[in-house]
């Protein structure tokens, strides 16, 4: 395994892990290309060193036509602030380094200063295209530590909202993917349909994004009267539009040429790189937490796990398109199966009293005040809860010290991990295909950087 020469134990940590040939001034080391690796490992300082002064004589072999091209962090096809350092030879990408951190706001640190009730307001801002999934993973972790059962209606409301959120997220993908590939009309259509879903979210949660709707113990509010009509309207509206996308994109030769055979990945590579979600499924590997490790009530609804065959960008596009159809199929079943009852637990420890009670009861007022100022205490322990977000496995590792705030909250962001596939997908491709690959990985930078 790792054969590390061990420096003295009292040496500084940095010295003990540093590669022997690392360090500044070693332009030779940077230029030396490991043929087996698609990952460019080049620090800012080393890159600056390579850039040098244009008047200086070139470093290394003058016949070497390789260059380092910087793409982003502000670039229309990088979905936010992803920056790529590309080692190019002509138009061909040799190695890639995704540079991230431009959106790092220390949300895991912030979580240690927020109560468990405030926690969802924080995590919902991570994956801003699919905010309900982060809230769900966090709430499930808290409920595991509390040893709490959520009422069945709350479970089904969570499922309804999450599946609609998956639809919204994949519609956003269709929009941006189309835009990246030059199918600009698709961008308008994708946003248009997503807006319909967001309108329903606004009606239920009060907000189009960053809902803070799924909370430990249940959901923030019951579904509004007439929600079935709104959901039915979506179920009637969206499928014909998806068929339009098929006409517009799926069968279209130019679109297929841009995606087929671009950014190919094998199942073994995807597993080794810890890729989950549509990237893993595009390789023909059927793994979906909803089916394989059912949470909420996914074992009570019928749906298919969509898999690809070739592991290319086209498969990832087609999987997301068809996952919208599967999600709508789940939503249709939820319409019939939605139970009645409480939308949040009646455990007084975590649930504030109803608003009307506060006007007539001093105890209810105190209770309300205590929950919102001090928060509720969660037993000592640690747990990991995972859900299948539109981008893959979204996990929440939570450590409690018995107080009202998490001792440590870590989110396993699927975008963050999936981003590691980028260099492997882009290796040997053209730079124009690189745009298609970034788009097909569908990273949400809020979740990558957290």
């Amino acid at each position: 395994m790792t054969d590390v020469t061990s420096p003295p134990a009292d040496a500084p940590v940095e010295d003990r892990v540093e590669n022997t040939d690392a360090g500044l001034g070693s332009a030779e080391r940077v230029l030396r290309r490991d043929e087996t690796s698609a990952v460019l490992r080049l620090s800012e300082a080393e890159a600056a060193l390579l850039a040098g002064d244009p008047d200086d004589p070139p470093v290394g072999d003058v016949t070497d036509q390789r260059m380092i091209l910087n793409m982003g962090p502000s670039h229309p096809s990088t979905h936010g602030v992803l920056r790529l350092m590309l080692e190019m030879e002509g138009e061909t990408i040799l190695r890639t380094k995704p540079v991230i951190g431009y959106l790092h706001t220390g949300m895991e640190k912030t979580a240690e200063d927020l109560t468990y009730l405030q926690g969802p307001t924080n995590v919902t801002r991570m994956d801003y295209a699919a905010p309900l999934f982060s809230e769900l993973a966090f709430s499930m972790a808290v409920e595991q530590l509390l040893g709490m059962e959520v009422p069945s209606r709350a479970t089904w409301i969570r499922m309804l909202m999450c599946e609609l959120n998956r639809v919204a997220s994949h519609l956003l993908f269709q929009a941006t993917n189309g835009m990246d590939l030059g199918a600009v009309s698709m961008m308008i259509y994708g946003w248009r349909e997503r807006e319909e879903v967001l309108r329903f979210f606004e009606k239920v949660t009060g907000l189009r994004m960053n809902h803070n709707y799924i909370r430990p113990g249940g959901v923030a509010a019951d579904l509004p009267d007439g929600w079935q009509d709104d959901v039915r309207r979506l179920l009637e509206l969206i499928p014909p539009r998806l068929d339009e996308y098929d006409t517009l994109l799926t069968g279209q030769p130019i679109f297929r040429e841009r995606l087929q055979g671009v950014g190919v990945m094998t199942p073994a590579e995807a597993l080794a790189l810890s890729a989950t979600g549509p990237i893993l499924r595009s390789t023909g590997y059927a793994w979906d937490l909803r089916r394989d490790q059912p949470y909420l009530a996914y074992d009570e609804v019928e749906f298919d796990v969509i898999v690809g065959t070739h592991g290319d960008s086209f498969d990832r596009y087609a999987i997301r398109l068809n996952e919208i159809r599967e999600s709508l199929r789940i939503v249709e079943q939820i319409l019939d199966l939605m139970p009645t009852g409480d939308y949040r637990t009646q455990d007084k420890k975590v649930t504030p009293p109803p608003r009307a009670r506060i006007d007539e009861s001093m105890e209810a007022l105190i209770h309300h005040f205590k929950i919102f100022t001090e928060g509720f205490h969660v037993p000592v322990g640690e747990t990991y809860a995972a859900v299948e977000s539109p981008r893959g496995e979204l996990g929440c590792y939570l450590v409690s010290d018995g107080g009202p705030k998490p001792y440590r909250m870590h989110i396993r962001g699927p975008s963050f991990v999936n981003l590691q596939t980028l260099p492997h997908l882009m290796e040997g491709g053209l730079i124009a295909d690189g745009v298609a690959v970034v788009s097909s990985v569908d990273p949400i930078m809020g979740e990558v950087d957290r």
Partner: protein, 172 residues
């Protein structure tokens, strides 16, 4: 796999799996290898169909009032590296928690076994300051390269931007 933590077990050590103490935490299997068993345990897991490293993270326990969930014989240290693995054939999950002393916060990297841990280990180094020996690109990932310190350590305070209110006599 294994039942709850020790207690009625007459032997001094609790239950063992893959040669290391194992406990159950909220229904999840948690292994507690010693630092020198870390790599061997992961090798054993990989041989036992755990095909994917789901997550690597770390916790700084320096401000924790005291852990009660460690099995017998495991000495609590300041840092703990937590890694999760998944077996897709049986749908099993397992979590490894290894104690890393403050005086020598280094564990072997899992990169050679699971290349997908590269970014996660960089994140742990960047934010918590536990180093991974043998990592191919041991650099910061989220913080700027010239940043000093590791923000997720408990002795790093949460930064605040002072808000200036008009005519406010003092900061709150």
């Amino acid at each position: 796999m294994s039942d709850g933590p020790d207690g009625e077990e007459p032997v001094t050590e609790g239950p063992i799996a893959y040669g290391v103490p194992v406990i159950e935490s909220n229904g999840q299997v948690v292994l507690h290898p010693a630092p020198d068993q870390w790599l061997d345990t992961v090798v054993a897991l990989k041989a036992d169909c755990f095909c994917m490293a789901i997550d690597v993270t770390a916790v700084d326990y320096s401000a924790h009032p005291g852990r009660t969930d460690l099995p017998e014989g495991v000495v609590p240290e300041r840092f703990e590296v937590v890694a999760s693995f998944i077996d897709h054939t049986d749908g099993r999950r397992v979590r490894l928690r290894v104690q890393v002393p403050e005086s020598d916060p280094v564990v072997p990297s899992l990169f050679d076994l699971f290349p997908g841990t590269e970014a996660m280990e960089r994140e742990v180094w960047d934010l918590v300051g536990v180093a991974f020996a043998g990592h191919p690109d041991h650099t910061r990932i989220l913080m700027p390269e010239d940043w000093v310190g590791h923000p997720l350590r408990r002795d790093v305070p949460i930064g605040r931007i002072p808000v200036q209110f008009k005519d406010a006599p003092t900061a709150r």
